[in-house]
């Protein structure tokens, strides 16, 4: 056989076959044990071609469309290692980190059209000569728990200001442990539960402890494949700058609704108590950042003037729930001395795309203008 002598030359006997199989099996078991023992996946997730061989990403990896060079993965370490924020901070840089949901990440927006992108394009210079550089650390999951996990990583990146944009859909306590990203980072979340007064059950079955087998190569095969795919997509990201497929004619958000005021399973107005909304997570965020200023923003929402708009602001929010949420947020911010901006009605209705919080490039610019003004105020005021 051409080129295959290496395979056929040794005198193959059944004893040889058995020896090969046994040795291969032993090596396989040994590699798996070593990988699990040394937490191989943790080590690997901190290794990245980004910010070295290929440029760092402008936003966290997310999405599964073959026309864009991006993917959703479970490792926050791998996600951060691919992000441009892990590059060293310039001496004259005023580092602003934006965290939040899909509106911060920028669904249907190019990286340069997102809130962070527009702020950077404005090239803000502070009174002390520092240049404002904004980083998009949003992630399209509606849960404050996910934001806390990201915040924990952000604190390693020497931020000068953190801006946390939220909307009511991220607050329901019952949803905080549902997201796969949260469940796959259960150890980190448990650490937060232990360190801060968060009202959660650490033994919640959704936060399962990975077994030893889960940490082997076999158990981590999905994460290994994701890591490899993330690195390979780096080249395409570097060459194209495309990290999201934006359809030419996107689906518009709904403006007409049924005569329905239900929200989160409640068909009648309810008091939005501590049990229902996870405001304690915002408090925890405040504790976590320590001396770093944290600005909380209630992000703009679409306000319909269509059918039944007297009952609902939009598809997500009946008026009763959203109004009560805003009042509660306002009260909490005042009571706890949080830096808080309520920008719920800042952006015109025409500047929302496929959901009540996703903005058009023009909407993004409207928001960025207001946020940039606040950044200047906070930065020039000093610590």
């Amino acid at each position: 056989m051409i080129g295959w002598k290496w395979l056929t030359q040794p005198p193959a006997t059944w004893a040889l076959v058995v020896r090969v199989i046994v040795k291969a099996a032993l090596w396989f078991v040994l590699f798996n044990l070593a990988f699990a023992g040394f937490d191989g996946i943790e080590v690997l997730n901190r290794v990245s071609l980004y910010n070295g061989l290929v440029p760092g990403r402008q936003r966290l990896p997310y999405g599964e469309d073959s026309r864009a060079y991006n993917l959703s993965l479970n490792s926050l370490d791998a996600m951060f290692a691919s992000h441009v924020i892990t590059q060293p901070k310039a001496a004259d840089e005023y580092r602003v980190v934006l965290i939040g949901d899909s509106s911060v990440w920028g669904i249907l927006l190019k990286p340069e059209e997102t809130l962070a992108g527009v702020i950077n394009a404005a090239q803000l210079t502070l009174a002390d000569g520092r240049q404002v550089r904004a980083y998009n650390l949003g992630h399209p999951i509606l849960a404050l728990s996910k934001d806390l996990l990201i915040l924990e990583h952000v604190l390693r990146e020497d931020a000068d200001l953190i801006i946390w944009l939220t909307t009511l859909q991220s607050f329901p306590r019952s949803k905080q442990l549902d997201a796969p990203l949260v469940q796959h980072n259960a150890d980190d979340l448990r650490r937060l539960f232990r360190a801060y007064p968060l009202n959660y059950d650490m033994d919640d079955p959704r936060l399962s402890e990975p077994s030893f087998l889960d940490r082997t190569i076999i158990g981590q095969r999905r994460n290994l494949a994701d890591w490899l795919r993330l690195q390979l997509y780096g080249a395409m990201w570097g060459m194209t700058g495309i990290d999201q497929y934006i359809p030419p004619d996107g689906e518009a958000r709904t403006a007409d609704f049924e005569a329905d005021i239900s929200w989160e399973g409640y068909s009648e107005p309810q008091p939005l108590t501590e049990d229902l909304l996870a405001f304690d997570m915002l408090g925890t965020g405040q504790q976590m950042v320590g001396e770093v200023p944290l600005l909380l923003i209630n992000e703009p929402i679409f306000m319909s003037d269509g059918q039944n708009s007297e009952l609902r602001y939009n598809l997500w929010y009946p008026r009763w729930a959203y109004d009560r949420y805003r009042a509660r947020y306002e009260a909490a911010a005042e009571a706890n001395h949080w830096r808080y901006l309520d920008l719920w009605d800042l952006v015109d209705g025409a500047e929302f795309t496929d959901s009540p919080v996703h903005l058009t490039p023009a909407g993004s610019r409207q928001l960025a203008e207001r946020v940039a003004a606040e950044i200047r105020t906070i930065a020039n005021r000093g610590p």
Partner: protein, 472 residues
């Protein structure tokens, strides 16, 4: 071929070697191949077409065997093989009465209907076979029909038209007709195997083969989806003396399969994320980026195809059949002729044997013989364009074939004129080595640029990539 299929084939090979007596092994291979072509056939949007296409492959195979067999009475083995095939086809159709998980295809037609269709088809074939005025041209007609079928599934407008007709007949939405409706798995290879036997019968070179040998040769399951294209007489030699499994064969077979899996499912599938295609070609703007996509494409194609071949050869070895090699380090060849002797070797051998040589001979034998250089050009161009068309009837494939045809022609002229100088290099080994390295680099990049035609679906995007590769 999926990893599950490969695992099943390997496990079944161990059972086959351990439990099946020698005299039944040929039958087992035939039965397994018949079942496999149904299992491997992808689902099609047109209802029941995924049952009809493999069945039609079997019908064509049996018809071609009938046309190619030597005169004389049928052997008992042939009757048994025919009966075995019919029973298996009916058994596959009877899976319609089982739960979907146990079916090999989507819901097949009703078994009595299949039986009736088989009887009518058999009647038609026998009529064709017995029609005296067709006796002389029967083999040529069969070849033309196979070529027509190839054209039909390779030429997109025709495929879409046919799909519309079928959709309309089946009461399905005609506006959704697409070329993908006709994903007739393995037919490109089946057609070339059948044409080889028909042509060899015409020239008197085909030795007698039984129906069992013939059917198994044409649809041998390891080589069904992606070759290699074996020769019937060579296959029959292995098939008639299927050996017992030895440690050497197990090592060799499993070794080839493991290497093939690494090439196909690890290397090629990984490189696929970065290889040239129409979307990426439009998105990447820099010349450097396009070169990277093109290099990745070249290696992805090699690992994908040669990986499949390794798996096919490995499974063949486990079942006692030594399929021919298809790749021999093609990117390390120092001229384009050597490249084509080491890339998809069984296909290039086939076209050399059935197109290049007969065409050249015919042109040479003409009373008004064209100049030799023109014969050479026509021969190379025609041969390579046929290879291009075999992959798909479209402008880029024709240009890809022409690219290689011209390359082979230029190389032939060049090597004829520089032969003496090349021979003198023997005295200067260093210079010869450098010459070889230069030849490898040139050949590789010639092939690499040719892949632009191959990878992109239309001339416009291919030309655009060429322009951008060179910064124009």
């Amino acid at each position: 071929m999926t990893l599950t299929f490969i695992a099943i084939a390997c496990t079944a090979a161990l059972v086959y070697n351990r439990l099946v007596p020698d005299r039944w092994r040929g039958w087992m291979l035939m039965g397994a191949s018949i079942v496999a072509i149904y299992a491997l056939q992808p689902f099609t949007a047109i209802r029941q077409l995924d049952f009809v296409l493999p069945t039609f492959t079997l019908v064509l195979t049996i018809a071609c065997w009938l046309f190619t067999r030597a005169a004389g009475p049928f052997a008992q083995d042939d009757y048994a093989a025919l009966l075995f095939t019919v029973v298996l086809v009916l058994a596959v159709s009877a899976t319609r009465y089982l739960v979907p998980e146990l079916r090999l295809t989507s819901r097949p037609p009703e078994t009595p209907l299949v039986a009736l269709a088989l009887i009518l088809t058999a009647g038609g074939i026998v009529l064709l076979w017995r029609t005296p005025y067709l006796a002389h041209d029967r083999l040529s007609i069969a070849m033309l029909m196979l070529i027509a079928l190839l054209v039909m599934i390779k030429y997109e407008p025709l495929t879409i038209g046919l799909s519309s007709v079928l959709r309309s007949w089946r009461g399905q939405d005609v506006t959704l007709a697409a070329s993908t409706d006709w994903s007739w798995l393995g037919f490109s290879y089946v057609a070339f195997r059948l044409i080889h036997t028909l042509r060899d019968r015409q020239t008197g070179q085909l030795p007698p083969v039984s129906l069992r040998e013939y059917v198994t040769y044409v649809i041998f399951f390891p080589a069904y989806t992606a070759g290699p294209i074996d020769r019937a007489e060579r296959f029959a030699i292995d098939y008639r003396a299927l050996p017992a499994l030895t440690a050497a064969r197990l090592t060799e077979g499993l070794g080839r399969i493991v290497v093939g899996i690494m090439k196909k499912f690890v290397l090629a599938d990984t490189l696929a994320l970065l290889s040239l295609d129409a979307t990426r070609a439009a998105q990447v703007t820099s010349a450097g980026g396009l070169w990277l996509l093109l290099y990745v494409y070249a290696f992805r194609l090699f690992f994908d195809f040669s990986g499949y071949t390794d798996i096919a050869i490995g499974i063949g070895i486990l079942y006692g059949v030594q399929l021919p090699e298809n790749f021999d380090r093609p990117y390390l060849r120092n001229n384009i002729a050597a490249f084509w002797q080491s890339w998809h070797m069984t296909l290039s051998g086939w076209v050399r044997f059935y197109i290049f040589s007969p065409l050249s001979r015919w042109l040479l034998s003409k009373p008004k013989r064209p100049p030799l250089i023109l014969i050479l050009l026509i021969g190379h161009l025609t041969t390579m364009i046929v290879i291009g068309l075999w992959h798909g009837i479209s402008g880029p494939f024709v240009l890809w074939g022409a690219w290689h045809g011209l390359g082979l022609f230029v190389h032939k002229v060049w090597s004829d004129r520089t032969r003496k100088a090349y021979l003198r290099l023997r005295q200067r080994p260093r210079l010869r080595q450098a010459w070889t390295v230069l030849g490898v680099a040139l050949t590789f990049h010639f092939v690499l640029l040719g892949w632009v035609w191959f990878a992109l679906p239309d001339l416009e995007s291919a030309l655009s990539v060429f322009r951008r590769l060179f910064g124009l």
